[in-house]
């Protein structure tokens, strides 16, 4: 194991978890809200834009945090426990991403027939952007929530 693992940022566990909640809640809410009510609700647009920005900034911090760096580190830089945790986090991410895609696909079937809301082109790009950003950070987020404080 190469112990020279030097990530750019080591957030406290509580901070990383708080930021992950912002990514998982504020970002989807901001992008989904913006896609559902693009310009119909003038008062809501700044709120959705602010939620997107907060989610994006939180995601940037999480991307450079040690947990996300560990999630994407090569095998040689991790010990066997860390490799097992990383692999498990990627498996859980895979289930989450595929599950969300499948649910979205299931929604489109009645939505087309019954005239429920469906995103326009711009809305679809927004939603895919949020989905992509969250998917990228998900393994690190899972590692943060599975991490246990190291107490002697």
């Amino acid at each position: 194991m190469d112990t020279a693992f030097n990530p750019p940022l080591r957030l406290k566990l509580r901070t990383a978890r708080a930021l992950s909640l912002l990514v998982l809640v504020a970002m989807p809410a901001g992008y989904l809200g913006g896609a559902i009510w693009p310009e119909r609700l003038d008062w809501a647009w700044p709120v959705f834009a602010m939620m997107r920005l907060i989610g994006l900034f939180a995601a940037v911090f999480l991307f450079v945090d040690i947990r996300n760096q560990r999630a994407n580190a090569p095998d040689a830089m991790l010990d066997e426990r860390e490799r097992a945790e990383r692999d498990s986090a990627f498996r859980a991410s895979h289930y989450g991403i595929v599950g969300a895609l499948f649910l979205a696909f299931l929604y489109t079937i009645p939505a087309q027939r019954l005239g429920w809301w469906l995103p326009d082109g711009e809305g679809a790009i927004d939603l895919l952007s949020a989905f992509g950003i969250i998917s990228l950070g998900l393994p690190g987020i899972i590692l943060a929530w599975r991490e246990r404080p190291d107490v002697d």
């Binding site: 194991m1 112990t3 991790l78 010990d79 066997e80 426990r81 860390e82 097992a84 945790e85 692999d87 498990s88 599975r146 246990r148 190291d150 107490v151 002697d152």
Partner: protein, 89 residues
């Protein structure tokens, strides 16, 4: 044998041996080439090591691996050290 950050079914005397040898977690971790956090996970029983890591740890302390790890709980040290009643001898 490797558990994904779950509670391990293995019991161990790692903390006892480490403290007895005067080793810190970081020092022991360096000897077996793992992250010091992993030693903490092992000692708390939150992670079951691979056979390779178990053998490495046993080699560090110079004991058979079954002295360090067991599938059944180890008897408390106090009960092992307590003098036995004369009738039991």
């Amino acid at each position: 044998m490797v558990n994904d950050n779950q509670s391990s079914g293995l019991h161990n005397r790692l903390a006892l041996f480490r403290v007895e040898r005067g080793l810190s977690r970081a020092a022991l971790a360096e000897l077996v080439a793992v992250n010091p956090q992993t030693i903490g996970f092992l000692e708390r029983g939150h992670y079951g090591p691979s056979l390779e890591l178990g053998l490495k740890l046993a080699a560090v302390f110079g004991v058979p691996v079954e002295t360090l790890f067991s599938l059944t709980p180890f008897a408390p040290l106090a009960s092992q050290l307590a003098p036995q009643p004369a009738g039991d001898a």
